[in-house]
């Protein structure tokens, strides 16, 4: 199903998504949206792995499995992060990322 589509397309797409995520990480105010940006980043990486696997090394499934585990890890990461975010919300009554700067310098 990928004939006619060079691998570069997938890679560029993943890169764009990746850096969109990075941009989101750097600018979003809400901790949850920051977390969402992280999910974007991880998703981009997954696309990379899958594309490589399919295009270049289709005889094995390393890339695919890697993506699979990344998803699992991302899920657990998100779970913990959300737990902490909720905790923060309880304490600060806000989840604005800029408000979490009690410690500095």
């Amino acid at each position: 199903m990928i004939t006619g589509i060079p691998i570069h397309y997938f890679l560029i797409l993943a890169t764009l998504m990746f850096f969109a995520g990075v941009y989101g990480f750097l600018t979003r105010r809400n901790l949850i949206t920051v977390l969402m940006s992280v999910e974007l980043i991880l998703n981009a990486v997954n696309i990379n792995f899958m594309a490589f696997n399919r295009y270049l090394y289709p005889h094995k499934m390393e890339g695919m499995f890697f993506s699979l585990f990344v998803i699992a890890v991302a899920a657990s990461e998100a779970a913990v992060a959300i737990a902490i975010i909720i905790n923060i919300y309880r304490r600060f009554s806000t989840i604005n990322v800029e408000d979490a700067h009690e410690m500095k310098y």
Partner: protein, 473 residues
């Protein structure tokens, strides 16, 4: 699986068993007797530490996904010792009322991170490496946010987990590039086809970034201070010593087994970043008032020194890095142990609060001084030997400029370590920390630290052992 393979994997298996056991005990024990969990865990972990020291066959399991050899075993043992010390030190803290609900969780999380580290160290495949890395990070974020009644604890937790997510994202991106250009994620296979094209270098740099985050190398260090300050002290200790040590270990393994081809490239990277790390870490440390934050920056600069051992790309460097981590575990945990004890007794964490400490708590002050001297690399304590070997390793490859910069940096670091010594010994205070007696756990832990600080240096056999074992990595 044959029993032999169990023996090969005994670190991880034992730890898993321990974690499960703690969970089970938690479930079945009486709510008022949760304190027993501490004793149980400490004893249990002590046993694991001892068992880990037993000789073991080398080997690969799971088709090369899990690799163990004497060198990696030694790294795990070193971590075990460190974690044991952390456990002992945290006993008093866990007994506080506000923590009594979550004792076993604490242990389970700690042990599971250690399992992650062990898998990371033993990995022969980047998937194992990645999962180990995350297993070693995610629970720590929760631990950093452990103190629910302290705002900064939660702040530390969120900072840690988000930055770590970003970093692992970048790391993964790098890994994906490496995978794409080499066709494998097995260490051995990558090494055979890795050539160092631009894309591979890019992948390596992103991979390096992820590791640099764990080791807190400048400019990927900024989370360190905040997280260290916000976390409970024993978590900070754990982060600064165990977590960092494990990352250093796996980093050195990866560098030497996966990327030997581009040694020239990573030497340059390390050259620059180590200078940055030492200098920036030191410059920030100078001004710190909070001891945890102070030790955070100190640990950043220590990471810079550790990189000196990498740069030689030689066996001496490898050995000295591992040795230094061992020394660093004793020294830093010594320092953190004192900070923790004092914080537990008085709630004070600032340098000013330590004024005149020697007059009320001479032993703690002496231990602190010893630990700081070891961190600063003052003879005859172990830190001196560790630093010396690191510098020797760098000098062996002719990096004299780097060595000079490093030794000049040790002067700055000596300055701020001496500030603490000054506070404890020289200054007087109207409101000193009152005299208090530590519990058996703390004493034992600090005693071990002191013994480690003193003995590790003089006992040349230890270094010889590490040198011989590190050969196989």
């Amino acid at each position: 699986m044959s029993p032999e393979k169990f023996v090969i994997m005994r670190h991880e298996l034992l730890l898993t068993a321990a974690a499960l056991m703690v969970l089970i005990v938690e479930v079945f024990s009486h709510p008022d007797k949760k304190g027993k969990v501490i004793t149980l865990s400490a004893i249990c972990f002590g046993l694991i530490t001892v068992l880990g020291l037993l000789p073991s066959p080398e080997g690969e399991l799971f088709g090369g996904m899990y690799i163990t050899n004497a060198g990696r075993l030694m790294m795990k043992n070193i971590l075990n010792i460190g974690v044991l010390l952390v456990f002992l030190q945290s006993a008093d803290w866990l007994r506080r009322d506000e923590n009594s609900e979550k004792i076993s969780e604490y242990f389970v999380l700690m042990i599971s991170t250690l399992i992650g580290m062990n898998f990371m160290i033993s990995s022969g495949h980047f998937l194992m490496f990645y999962i180990g890395l995350e297993l070693a990070t995610i629970p720590i974020a929760a631990l950093a946010a452990y103190d629910r009644h302290r705002n900064i604890s939660a702040e530390a937790g969120i900072k840690l987990i988000l930055i770590s997510a970003l970093s692992s994202g970048i790391l993964l991106y790098g890994l994906s590039l490496i995978y794409g250009t080499t066709g494998s994620l097995y260490f051995g296979e990558i090494a055979t086809v890795f050539r160092g094209s631009n894309l591979q270098l890019l992948g390596f740099i992103f991979f390096f970034t992820g590791m640099a985050f764990k080791i807190s190398i400048v400019p990927f260090h900024l989370w360190t201070a905040d997280v260290y300050e916000g976390s409970p002290i024993n978590i900070t200790a754990y982060l600064s010593v165990i977590s960092k040590g494990a990352a250093v270990f796996i980093f050195i393994i990866v560098l030497f087994t996966v990327f030997p081809v581009i040694v020239a490239a990573w030497q340059k990277v390390i050259y620059v970043t180590s200078i940055l790390t030492m200098t920036i870490g030191n410059l920030f440390a100078i001004r710190q008032q909070n001891l945890k934050r102070f030790l955070a920056f100190s640990s950043i600069s220590q990471a810079g020194y550790i990189l000196l051992g990498f740069i030689g790309g030689n066996q001496l460097g490898m050995a000295s890095v591992i040795y230094y981590i061992l020394v660093y575990i004793f020294s830093n945990l010594g320092a953190f142990g004192v900070v923790l004890a004092i914080s537990n007794a008085s709630g004070k964490e600032n340098v000013d609060d330590y004024n005149g400490l020697y007059h009320t708590n001479p032993k703690l002050s002496l231990i602190m001084m010893l630990a700081l001297f070891s961190l600063a690399g003052i003879p005859p304590v172990a830190g001196y030997f560790g630093k010396f070997f690191l510098f020797t390793a760098a000098a062996e490859k002719g990096y004299y400029t780097l060595v000079i910069i490093a030794v000049l940096n040790t002067i700055i670091s000596l300055y701020y370590y001496l500030l603490i010594v000054k506070a404890m010994f020289l200054l007087k205070s109207d409101n000193p920390i009152e005299k208090f007696k530590s519990t058996w756990y703390t004493r034992f832990a600090l005693g071990l630290c002191v013994a480690g600080i003193i003995v590790t240096g003089f006992a040349s056999g230890l270094f010889e052992l590490i040198r011989n074992l590190s050969f196989g990595i």
